[in-house]
Amino acid sequence: MIAARKEDLRNTLGRYWGNRVAVYSDSASSPTVVQPPCELLRVVAECLASECGYQFSMIVSERRRGAPLLHYVLEGAEEEGFILLDSMRGENGDYTRLSLVMPAAEAYERAIERDVGIRFESLLQAERAPAEERGSFIMPIGPVYSGTAESALFELQTCGENVLRASHTLEYKHRSIESLARGRTTHDALLLAERCNGRSAFAHGWAFARAVEAIGGSRTPERGEALRAFFAEIERYRSHVATIREVCESTGLIVAASQASILEEELLRLSGALCGHRYLFGVVAIGGITCDVDDSRCSDVVERLRGIHTRLRRLGSALRFDGTFFDRLENIGVISAADARKYALVGPVARASGWSRDARARQPYEHYRRFMLTPVEESEGDGAARVRVLFRECAESLRILRQVSTSLPHGPVRADVPARAGCGLGWVEAPRGITLHWVRCDEGGRVVHYQMATPSLRNWYGFHLAMEGFSFQDFPITLATLGLCVAESDR
């Protein structure tokens, strides 16, 4: 399939530019690389987006023979996988700005300009300036605010009612995870991947492991794959319940928040009893998982989850019939489908805006290749739609868990992964959207380069879209419905 895709790409691009655009891949398992000359970069990107349906995911910046080389990682439409679009320094020393045709790349280009010290051509519109409005003021919130919120700074410009401009500064939690990984063994770097966001540790660890497994060219045994999906769905379920709790808290519905909190704690205890850790730390390993769970244990877990789900459904219908809850969420923080697409939003946030990107269905991996999954979708794009998506995805997760528990393959749960030099891309649909991890290793199996694009990092574009034009006092509610994690963005 990969070979066929490469041919397709070669034909499409060849039709316009002959052999001026190189299409190749380093090895059978590594992603296809498209390498146009500098002056063609933007038109090629446009062509890939409009004719082949590729969308921007992340920029990987590596050094090749001293000079930085930027790979724009693009995600294909249905089952097309990922390709790398290479960008090199132009004759005048500048790099081409792709964000002019792929707006989602803007934040990455800015970050690269700042951190890697390379220059992009200066074509960009000025940074979004405060709106000019008489009598308006900027209200700063953070970095220390509210009870148990993560550290971040928000600046809301307002005249008192509506938010004119919303901006956020994420720099307070910077732990340099990616550079910290350099020089470590992949087993040790995995611990860092897990801890970029402790609340979806399993998904991030899994994506990192998949990148390393792609380099080693190994496959996880079937039972390991199935159990990975099992743990990942438990994590998704718990993460969604936690977001529902936060939304209830933000609307001041204390009883509902307590009910959600009870379910969340029960899910944490269930994980703790299953594998030792309440947040599933130390479960995923390079090549599989560290602890096998026997079949009867899995059925028990599903049984208990059904009990939890009955109560979650009851909570959901109580919220629906309580006029005050969904009233507070409807028509606030609206993100249109066009914006979701333009900024390549991911996860439940994108799916609530009718932009149904779900890697489990679109880029199926491991166990998800074995069954059909229809992504949940809502179209309104407001806070209420985002909460509905969470409730519906919980039901979907339970369905997957039941399916996995009744058809667990036998055998080992972990395989050895040979240490090899090379690079690999791992992706997993984390609870809040697709997470991508790019790893380059040396022959000794040590990490040379590591970069990640987490779902929250990408969904922060949604923040100003959802805040501007809406009422100032909706800020905490909108923020809760977006379910953004600071730790995995400001890493």
């Binding site: 939690k173 732990r175 402790g198 519905l253 309440r278």
Partner: protein, 245 residues
């Protein structure tokens, strides 16, 4: 609205009996390794070499655990030769400085009740999530007279999570300064105790103690809600902490 009241009442009491009685439910704690005599030189050095954060130190056949550095990776629990595993949660202790300096004690004036401000100095969000559980029905912190407050001016204790990122240093110190004295600082979790897995990062300060006078420490990655309750009880002098001497 009254519907919610009924719903709440119908749920019944969920609260843990701790600290009156030990909590026996499964999955309330991730556990921590215990030091042990493994009986052979090679097992002791073999196990201690597994640790990614150098929390294990072998001397002869005995392995000692530096709990503050353990990041719950479970390598030493899943190796061929394993360390015994402590499934409890009463892990908090007073720091040596807090024991020696009587002027740092809160004294009886506090009626054994505390208002607590939480500051995130770069956590991975798991520690904060465990703190958020504290106010939920299972742990209902309020029944013990502890309250999480949004304002430092009202706070008697400061909980710090995360490896102390440089960019949070100023905000953290400002929060501490804004609190009236006497006040206590509680470092929660491996990152706040030793920098944890991020200890070698160039953009973190490491242990909270590098920036503030710390009174109570509680290990774990993350410490479960019951361990944080234990830390609050130790801070309020309602129970003695784990002895570290």
């Amino acid at each position: 609205m009254s519907d919610w009241v009924l719903r709440g009442l119908a749920t019944g009491v969920k609260s843990s009996a701790y600290p009156k009685r030990a909590e026996s439910a499964e999955g309330v704690s991730p556990g921590l390794p215990e030091g042990a005599d493994l009986g052979s030189l090679s097992s002791a050095s073999g196990v201690s070499r597994l640790c990614p954060t150098q929390a294990l130190h072998a001397s002869g056949t005995v392995v000692a655990v530096d709990r503050g550095a353990c990041v719950n990776c479970y390598r030493c629990a899943r190796a061929p030769v394993t360390l015994p595993w402590n499934r409890g949660y009463e892990w908090a202790s007073l720091t040596d400085e807090a024991v020696d300096d009587a002027s740092r004690r809160l004294g009886r004036a506090f009626g054994h009740s505390l208002h607590v401000r939480v500051v995130d100095a770069g956590d991975c969000s798991a520690c904060l999530s465990e703190i958020a559980q504290l106010t939920g029905p299972y742990y209902s912190l309020h029944r013990l007279g502890f309250f999480i407050t949004p304002t430092p001016r009202e706070a008697d204790a400061l909980i710090v999570v995360g490896p102390g990122t440089q960019r949070m240093r100023e905000a953290l110190l400002a929060t501490y300064e804004a609190m009236p004295s006497p006040k206590r600082v509680i470092a929660v979790g491996a990152c706040a105790l030793s920098g944890g897995i991020f200890a070698e990062s160039e953009t973190v300060e490491g242990a909270t103690a590098n920036m503030l006078p710390v009174d109570v420490i509680v290990p774990g990655c993350p410490p479960p809600p019951l361990a944080i309750i234990h830390a609050l009880l130790v801070a309020a002098e309602r129970t003695a902490g784990v002895s570290t001497r």
